[in-house]
Symmetry: C2
């Protein structure tokens, strides 16, 4: 509301000046001789241009498909894991399109980083076997996923593996450790002696690396990870009728690959851009960035064989999964009735780490008025296998947006007020590396979008971007609907009641490090958003789309089961492009600071409910904090902000998230510096540092830990004061 | 040179546009109806205004003294140690002047911080005695300085003490530890068993706190500190004829007080503004911020008695001082011939720490065009006793500048383009607290000046400010000379040959944390300078003006021996005010990036000479670093920078120093983040992190320490690349 008011006031003032000018100097004189910077100063979003953009993100007349489909087909022809020949092919493809003289950008280039990656050995594939006491192999886990089409048979399909898990040959009795959370191992350890065991865990509940890092202290020597049919397939398991290629569900041999590293960015060059300046290979181990023991992911077909034969007590109810057997802890090891009785599970892992050159492909449309202010639109380019959804849906959307905007620029129809940078990040799958390395070198940007694609829009962001997402999504038709907007469709699936706005779609926050926004938000404090189309969560319990990071995430899968007709891709391209144009062209940045204040108030309310009473018993007052400048002051100051010039307001809005950065707030959490959105393990909808410090102090009851709670209150108070004074009128 | 060229191009462009406007729209129309922002856009420094300013910083016709003398007299009437009643009186005095309706600023206010300070106990003064084995007191060190005038008799003169040194009652045999450097104790320990001893050390060579921190690990239980006549008085010792009140030299009973803490800023709220949000009193000890053992400073009158009676071997030649006796190590303890034979030295220290409210007094002249860009002029206000030179010379200069500028503003003659903030910092003497707490809350400023006053200008700064200091000092007459400028006088005392400019005055760098600039440079990366008038170093070996931090630093002392007629004060006020107006009014900020590049090149050349050969033997190449973006790239990019708008160039110039910040560069050095100017113990004129890491690695020969050298090369390389790309044309 405030921003709207400000915008009104400001536009009025500017228009008025121009009015006087014209009136005074007379209309008869040719307007072409006005100094060009006068027109520039008042350049704002052109709604007609947005309409034109929306119509150019076309449906093909031939097949009534979104015309970006061919881009998607091209991008997903072969596997393109980071630094592979397929990756290089996508680099060339993008460079060619971004340099196209009719529809390309002003400039495009490749940006290389020397980054630390981990691969299996094609000559000596990783192997998981059940071996009896005489070393006879009783059972061997499938080496690669079962092929249904040529896509799975491509020689570049990488064997499923746990990137950055060390090589090694651990052997031991098998135990079932649920999701491999710290609490899971703690409970398991009460019944089973874990020393020398191999743990089998399922995806979900804890980060990938955590499943090994949590088990190692108990003496676990190796870890298997699989996706339980309950978590991904609504329990379905048969590939003769139920799973892909008959549906979107994961086939029994499908395996989720992934990075088993903790930080975002290249781990040998922490806080530095990776330009051959390796710090030390010990660093990764030293900082507990990687699993200390070998790990291998496997399909549920094999996990079924192993888990259903385990001995020992039955695991608790919430540890049970989709298999038609009781999940036991393990004796440790197998049931005495099992053919595997008395046998070990053995892992032979041959992963190796290596430094390779990974490329970001960058492109730019230069701004006409404020070329030194940047709006960044990014998406990663590397996949695990063909990556039809992750990431090629997003890449094809980005390419289609650049085609339409590039054509408008080349035809002289448009040039944005601010510069737009497009980033096709490399090596995301290994730990958001390309985008993080990029940010480690740069410091002055505005915003970043991400997109993937399928039943409703899903958007996360810092709260100040909510408004522009709403505005853009109201102007785009929902897939398959002519009269229903993306916004109106979204609000049906997911909504909340805002004290300011009433019923609105529910946006997520950018907590943690889920995708390439991480380094922008947490490291640089740049207002960011992450948008996608997603499935209907009332109809499935799948924790993610089932082919995620497997050899089945192909064009065939995407076009049959995720987005037939690519209509959601089209809607995302229109919405994202609309947002992008608004960010690049608005005289006043469409970032709403009162929406930020609303979120901070929610967080504060939650913190008071959760912590205040107990903190008082420790002599720590939250009242002081809130008086001394928490949300109340924030809003008051926001309401007082009446700066006179667009530039000043824009700098304030742009720098708002920067004010929340504190490089000393989370000494134990590499890369996190944003005190509002940092990753938190406490799982509370409130300030992360406070929540984690409180949980730790409550559990240890150490005075020093309560001091740390006090410290986090101070950090917060100062950050919020700082943000408020950033928005306040200049003194 | 480049900047000059740019300025030419830019001014031409702007003037040209205006020219067209006027030409086209005709001159007959009233120019009063031009929109006011058009005139604003091209507002630049007005040389006539500068002349007016210089003439208004007047000499009184009555006594031909600088008219600011009465301000100085007023400020130094009573002792005004931080948070004392005298301090409050200066706060009120400044507020009154800055709120004066005819000559005050636009606004002035008090800004309070709750800071951790340390004081002696007036009821139980600290005591140093020589006690014999039967506990008889054979000798007692003077409690307070000998009074010569009423100034020294004022009841608020604080007893000499070592702020932050802990209370305690250590007793032991005395040893002489030279300057208390780590190397001094190491050498001494080879001859004397230091366990249980009291060390007497002299000022200089190591920081105050370091003299205790270095000794404690060898078992030293207490430390005395004194100023040797050789280091301050060119050997003179007699107050009947040689020292103050007969000259500027330190009387025998004079004692330098000081803060014995390590960090800058309030030490209980590291990295946070001190607003009652104390972290923990353990923090100071934990972080090794303060001496672990009691310390007391004493006069050389007493030190003479103690040192000349010491037993043991004669200390090395370079440990000898100004006393007419041989400085022995100590037996430990006294000579067998001495009346003190077999006696101990005992310290009874009653210092106590307490949190008190300390005030900065802030004032502002608001900018007309860019009120959100700030030039900061600051000086601390608190003294140890009367503080005539430190800090009142600077405060009187600041007040005289604000009187002249304030009058011009109130008369409607002038308003700066950018806002000017004046800061009268509190609690500097306790560790630069007021200014550091201020910076911990703020982030967007341009520049800071400091001034004190006496034979030649002395200036330090980041290299980019050299040019504006030269320009201003060429326009001001040197004290006592009508035809010699401050610049021409300066170059006679101290000069160097620059590859670009030829023979120029020598400016210092802002390394370490000598004064209030520290937090601005090292914590926030703000281009800063520190200017003063100083004595002729060819005529004395005094390490600082002799009355520094003693009860003799009074108006009488200043007016008789430092600056008779206050002519140097006047010259400093004119020079500093001239610089200030240029920074606030220039269309393009007068910050010269090529001068920065020249300094970086010097540093690089030095680093190559010192380190390259040995680094090669460790497989670490500096060549790579320099190719990948050290100074060569910096200069190339600087030469390519042709941005079109003043705002963009100014942002780039303003943010240049910010690009050198890396909060992770010096994990062991609290508060230092500027990779070029951070404090360094290696004492080499080159990059501090590299120099220190190299020295450590060379001494330990640990591979991990060589890795840290490699790391610092990477940090440097990235910082310089970042700075270069900050200056490069926008992509």
């Amino acid at each position: 509301m405030l921003k709207q008011a400000l915008l009104g006031v400001l536009c009025a003032a500017v228009v008025l000046s121009i009015g006087i000018l014209i009136g005074h100097f007379g209309i008869s004189k040719s307007s072409s001789s006005e100094p060009p910077w006068m027109k520039d100063v008042v350049k704002d979003v052109d709604e007609n241009l947005i309409k034109q953009f929306l119509s150019e993100v076309k449906t093909s007349e031939l097949d009534s498909f979104w015309i970006g489909v061919f881009l998607h087909r091209e991008l997903t022809k072969i596997p393109h894991m980071a630094t592979s020949p397929g990756d290089e092919q996508t680099v060339q493809f993008m460079l060619k399109r971004w340099k196209d003289p009719d529809s390309g950008l002003d400039d495009a280039w490749r940006q290389e980083y020397a980054v630390y990656l981990s691969f299996p050995d094609p000559e000596k594939p990783n192997k998981v076997t059940v071996v009896d006491p005489s070393d006879a192999e009783l059972y061997t886990v499938r080496e690669k996923e079962k092929p249904y089409y040529d896509d799975q048979r491509h020689p570049d399909v990488v064997q499923p593996y746990a990137a950055y898990a060390p090589a090694g040959h651990p052997r031991g009795k098998l135990v079932y450790a649920h999701q491999g959370k710290a609490a899971d191992y703690e409970l398991l350890n009460k019944t089973v002696d874990l020393r020398g065991t191999i743990a089998i865990t399922r995806y979900g509940g804890a980060g990938r690396a955590a499943k090994a890092i949590n088990g190692a202290p108990y003496g676990v020597v190796g870890v298997l990870v699989y996706t339980d049919p309950l978590d991904i397939n609504d329990g379905l398991m048969s590939d003769t009728s139920e799973t892909y290629p008959h549906s979107w569900y994961l086939p029994p041999s499908g395996v989720e690959r992934g990075s088993y590293s903790i930080p975002f960015g290249d781990m040998l060059t922490p806080y530095l851009a990776a330009k051959g300046n390796l710090v030390s290979k010990d660093m990764a181990t030293l900082w507990s960035f990687i699993p200390p023991i070998p790990v291998q992911p496997i399909g549920f077909e094999d996990a079924y064989k192993l888990i259903c034969d385990l001995g020992g007590d039955a695991a608790p109810n919430d540890w049970q999964g989709g298999f038609n057997c009781t999940y036991n802890y393990g004796g440790p090891g197998f049931n005495t009735d099992s053919v595997f009785n008395n046998s070990d599970v053995k892992l032979d892992i041959y992963n190796h780490e290596t430094v390779k050159n990974s490329s970001n492909v960058m492109g730019i449309i230069r701004g006409s008025v404020e070329p030194d202010r940047y709006v960044i639109y990014g998406n990663h380019r590397d996949s695990w296998v063909h990556g039809a959804i992750d990431p090629s849906s997003g890449t094809s959307v980005m390419l289609e947006i650049t085609r339409v905007l590039g054509s408008m620029v080349k035809q002289g129809k448009w040039r944005p007020r601010r510069s737009i940078i497009f980033g096709s990040w490399g090596a995301e799958e290994f730990g958001l590396i390309g985008s993080a390395e990029y940010t480690e070198g740069k410091l002055t940007h505005v915003l970043r979008l991400n997109s993937a694609a399928n039943a409703t829009l899903r958007a996360s962001g810092v709260p100040s971007v909510q408004n522009v997402i709403f505005q853009a999504s109201q102007q785009v038709s929902a897939p398959g609907h002519d009269s229903l907007s993306v916004y109106d469709n979204w609000i049906k699936y997911s909504n909340r009641t805002s004290p300011t706005h009433g019923l609105i779609p529910r946006m997520g926050y950018l907590t943690g490090a889920g995708s390439d926004y991480a380094a922008f938000v947490h490291y640089l404090g740049i207002a960011s958003m992450d948008i996608s189309y997603t499935y209907d969560r009332t109809k499935t319990n799948a924790r993610i789309y089932p082919a995620y990071h497997t050899a089945y995430d192909t064009f065939d899968y995407a076009s049959k089961y995720i987005d037939p007709g690519f209509v959601s891709h089209q809607a995302v391209a229109r919405t994202a492009g609309n947002i992008l144009i608004r960010l690049a062209d608005s005289l006043l940045l469409p970032l709403n600071c009162t929406d930020y204040a609303e979120s901070l108030e929610e967080y504060l309310k939650e913190a008071v409910t959760l912590y205040e009473a107990q903190l008082q018993t420790k002599g720590i007052s939250m009242g002081e904090r809130s008086e001394s400048g928490l949300t109340v002051a924030f809003c008051q100051k926001v309401n007082n902000c009446r700066p006179l010039k667009a530039r000043r307001i824009n700098d304030q809005l742009m720098l708002l998230d920067r004010a929340f950065l504190n490089p000393y707030a989370f000494p134990d959490q590499y890369g996190f510096r944003h005190v509002i959105w940092a990753s938190s393990s406490a799982g509370k909808p409130t300030f992360p540092g406070l929540a984690d410090a409180f949980a730790r102090a409550q559990s240890s009851e150490e005075p020093r830990d309560w001091e740390k709670v006090h410290y986090h209150l101070s950090v917060l108070s100062q950050a919020i004061d700082g943000a408020a004074s950033m928005l306040a009128e200049v003194i």
